[in-house]
Symmetry: C2
Subunit: 221 residues, 2 copies
């Protein structure tokens, strides 16, 4: 294995271990000593890749801000839906994804690390602006407002789904959310051809190397 590839793997290993710690004990309680113990790396090796615990947490947030697996579609609106659906499919399966949302929700961590919500809103607004230019959006639908409300709604539905015992799988709840929002966003002809099914998210996830297919149990902190 080339030195560079080994470095990439070590970096990924650190981020995934950090993600696991965030899910188990929370950001505040996670320590470098725990990382040393779980990764088997020395402190020196850890600090070679990341200068601090904060920087590792920022790395987790950056990895989760992704539209990987989303391909170009006939409708920009479908690409926008795909991003949210794919994330809903991956979140219960990948500790890195669930750790990122825990960091955003945790007020104390957010004070230190900030939040990537503005980036998510920007990503959605750009796609929806292009969708509007192509005539896929209803005249009253404002790309920025819809993008912002969708990021908020997605986040809250995830939070409540996790807390309500009788909830369906996240990807099914998010599918229901898009089905509730889209008729007031998309023009009729486009709406009829959008695919918001959980099955689509599963198929898209298959194209992502390393995306897990099994749900992992993330213990509550």
């Amino acid at each position: 294995m080339a030195r560079q590839e080994r470095g990439v793997r070590t970096r990924r290993n650190i981020l995934e271990t950090m993600a696991g710690l965030i899910n188990e004990v929370g950001y505040e309680a996670a320590t470098i000593s725990m990382l040393v113990e779980r990764t088997g790396l020395t402190r020196g090796a850890l600090y070679f890749h990341f200068s601090s615990k904060e920087e590792m947490a920022r790395g987790v947030l950056a990895e989760a801000l992704t539209s990987e697996g989303v391909r170009e579609q006939e409708f920009k609106l479908q690409e926008w839906v795909d991003i949210g659906m794919l994330l809903a499919y991956r979140l219960p399966r990948e500790p890195l994804m669930s750790a990122a949302i825990r960091l955003s929700i945790d007020a104390k961590a957010r004070n230190v690390l900030g939040t990537r919500w503005p980036d998510w809103v920007d990503l959605g607004r750009d796609l929806l602006t292009e969708a509007k230019r192509r005539g896929e959006l209803l005249p009253h639908a404002d790309p920025w407002s819809v993008a912002k409300l969708a990021v908020g709604s997605w986040t809250g539905v995830q939070l409540v789904t996790e807390a309500l015992p009788e909830s369906a799988e996240l990807v099914e709840e998010i599918s229901a959310l898009y089905q509730l929002l889209l008729p007031n966003v998309a023009t009729a002809g486009v709406l009829a051809r959008l695919d918001t099914s959980p099955r689509r998210a599963e198929q898209l996830a298959r194209s992502i190397p390393g995306a897990a297919s099994e749900t992992v149990h993330v213990p509550a902190t």
Copy 2:
């Protein structure tokens, strides 16, 4: 002042002080010593009203689960909207309301205290079921699914609004959320007559004794 009335005031004072502590330092870091210091009450007096810190936090959650100020309307759907709009108006103005949502979002506190989200979902489902019986809902709108998605969306929009610096006031963002959801929930004639304006929330709040009219600064924990 009669002894009973004094008891009610003391209880309220304890809950509001506890709410302030939750907003400032979080549930975990809040202590009985801090409550003693801030209320000026003895430990004995505190424990006369609440057996533990947990019970005080449960009291905060119970106070915030309210449809106070919502009056009977021509449309049940308007009552459902009024509950969410009124809460959005009150939250930035009343530490008790913001503390309750912080407790729900905080995973560690939620593990100890549980969550009132199922109660909010039940409240919405009952109103929407009655609205459906009266013909106010579109045929495909399922009261339980809409109620659950609305509780999730409301919560997430609050969270993201608080974190995004350029956001409007919460009641305006929640108004935009209802305007996005309702066209896919309400029949056209009812939709045209629903009032989702922030101004309405302000007027409803005036009927609530003790509901503050000024926005208070809640420090981030």
